[in-house]
Amino acid sequence: MSLAPQTSTESSVNQTRGPIRQWFYNIYYTTVTVYKGMSITMRALMKTLGMRKIAKGYDYGAGPITISYPDVKDAIPLISRNRLFNHVEGCIACNQCAVICPVECIDISSRKKTADEDLDAKTPPEFGSKPLKLKLLKFSIDEALCCFCGLCTEVCPTECLVHTPEFEYSKFDRDKLYYDYLNFDDDNPLPKA
């Protein structure tokens, strides 16, 4: 198959005829080109209905394209960057995500541990078993501001801050998109990862 547009250069636009001939030619040519377009549409329709055999090269793409969304859900790639979630048990309060965020939507505060607290605590093994030297007091993200650039999840040393493929968390109130992950309370919670 040649990699070139297969357009016929014949048209009624650049030609000079007598006015009567031009008038009839316009009608003729418009009918021909509209028929050409409609035949393509019909071909696609027949393929969709299964009445026409799908030619080679068309094999992926024929058939219905749209899905009826709330009933049927499309599979979203796992690396898709949607809603942010922080697994606070793995957070070491290093503040790197808050620093790199271009829109400054992450808010962290922490303090040094006192003597009566567990100084040798470590993050769970799925978050890298890093020493927890600081006590996390607050980890909140205003997801109404988030621009989904993914920079915060890349710098996270324990990979506890993640973009999940979950995208259905719209709210009627913008304040409800302000999430405090230490006492995470949402009417639309995440499934356990």
Partner: protein, 381 residues
């Protein structure tokens, strides 16, 4: 009351008044929030004043307060239909300042994603252009194929429109073998589909009569305005930055530069600008096929620090879907750029509206506006 505004009979004909028509910013065929103030005499346009600024988001000022890595999400949001190309230009400028060496594989991946993004952008331009002029089917076909590209991007980098994928030093993550197979499949699948869209629309007599010989911008005018990209090539010159000043390894790939040859209409009219985009998509497929075949194996990220501190001043322009978009960066050796200025091709296209429109019929403004393919995010920055 002045006598000028009164309708008087003079030399046996009516004196008419000019009418000012407001088009946009909510008009569907201004492709964003553009307001056009059109002064018309009956149906003939006398003057057009584009009113921009509805989508101004202070990209350039924001960049002065962000690190180089943090500027990339803002660069994405300039031309949200060709975000990969926006990032690529910015990263190339920063890398040139750092004199960084980029792995060959990263360059190949950049070319692949940039060309895929160019196809997606041209498909949208083509589909909405047909929609503006009354053809509904090409719009659906174009969006069907664009959707496949966006899904591949989601697999590659996790986002559909605003990628944040190209970074100073390389790209954020490697192409997986599965995605490479998908891209190969897409190239095979897309060529017959595009030929179908082309057959559907390009020769259609109604479409040709709406676009051919409409909104002509001759070559000398186009050059003096500073046109670039498909709009310049539609005026009949084979000028492409990918060939004229190759970046990211474009010199390795064989492709033709498509320019308006007036198969129909006149060189520089709406039809020729449209057809340049159609032909360019075939060339992009050629480039992608070569780039996939030539992918090296030396890693996707070069030795560039996360927070870079370049020094100096640079202007780097790349061939984006809408033309040559240039970044002028002044770096003072700190983590943040001192000044970032983006030269936008859409801004130049829209600045010529007045001249292109005058003498035109009112209904043709839609045809002209669609054919210069502007993105308002890039005009206002």
């Amino acid at each position: 009351m002045s006598t000028e505004n009164q309708v008087t009979y003079k030399d046996d004909h009516f004196q008419t008044q000019d009418m000012t028509i407001n088009m946009g910013p909510q008009h569907p065929s201004t492709h964003g929030v553009l307001r056009l103030e059109i002064v018309s005499d009956g149906e003939v346009i006398k003057a057009t004043y584009p009113d921009i600024g509805y989508l101004h988001r202070c990209f350039e000022k924001h960049s002065e307060n962000r690190e180089y890595l943090q500027v990339l999400p803002f660069a994405d949001r300039m031309d949200y239909l060709g975000a990969m190309n926006m990032e690529l230009g910015f990263c190339l400028a920063v890398e040139k300042l750092l004199a960084a060496e980029i792995p060959v594989r990263a360059q190949g991946i950049r070319v692949i994603v940039a060309e895929l993004n160019r196809i997606a952008s041209h498909l949208l331009a083509l589909g909405t252009y047909a929609l503006d002029l009354g053809g509904f089917t090409p719009f659906l076909y174009a969006f069907r194929d664009r959707e496949k590209i966006l899904r591949m991007f989601e697999e590659i980098c996790g986002a559909r429109l605003l990628y944040n994928y190209v970074r100073p030093g390389g790209v954020a993550r490697d192409l997986s073998p599965g995605v490479i197979d998908q891209i190969k499949d897409f190239c095979k699948y897309f060529v017959p589909q595009l030929q179908e869209i082309d057959e559907l629309l390009t020769g259609n007599n109604i479409f040709v009569h709406r676009t051919a010989n409409v909104g002509i911008i001759p070559l000398d005018k186009a050059i003096s305005y500073g046109f670039s990209g498909p709009n310049l090539r539609g005026s009949g010159i084979a000028w492409d930055l990918r060939r004229a000043a190759p970046y990211s390894g474009y010199e390795k790939y064989e492709f033709d530069i498509c320019y308006g040859k007036a198969e129909m209409g006149t060189v520089g009219d709406c039809w020729n600008r449209y057809f340049v985009r159609v032909k360019e998509m075939f060339e992009s497929i050629k480039i992608i096929e070569q780039a996939v075949a030539q992918l090296a194996d030396d890693g996707h990220m070069g030795r560039v620090a996360k927070s870079v501190k370049p020094t100096g001043e640079i202007y780097m322009d790349t061939e984006c879907p809408r033309g040559a978009l240039g970044y002028h960066i002044v770096a003072d050796g700190s983590k943040k750029p001192y000044r970032v200025k983006a030269k936008s091709p859409s801004f130049i296209s829209i600045s010529s509206m007045d001249e292109m429109c005058s003498g035109m019929m009112l209904a043709d403004v839609v045809a002209l506006l669609g054919s210069i393919d502007i993105v308002l995010g890039e005009v206002d920055r």
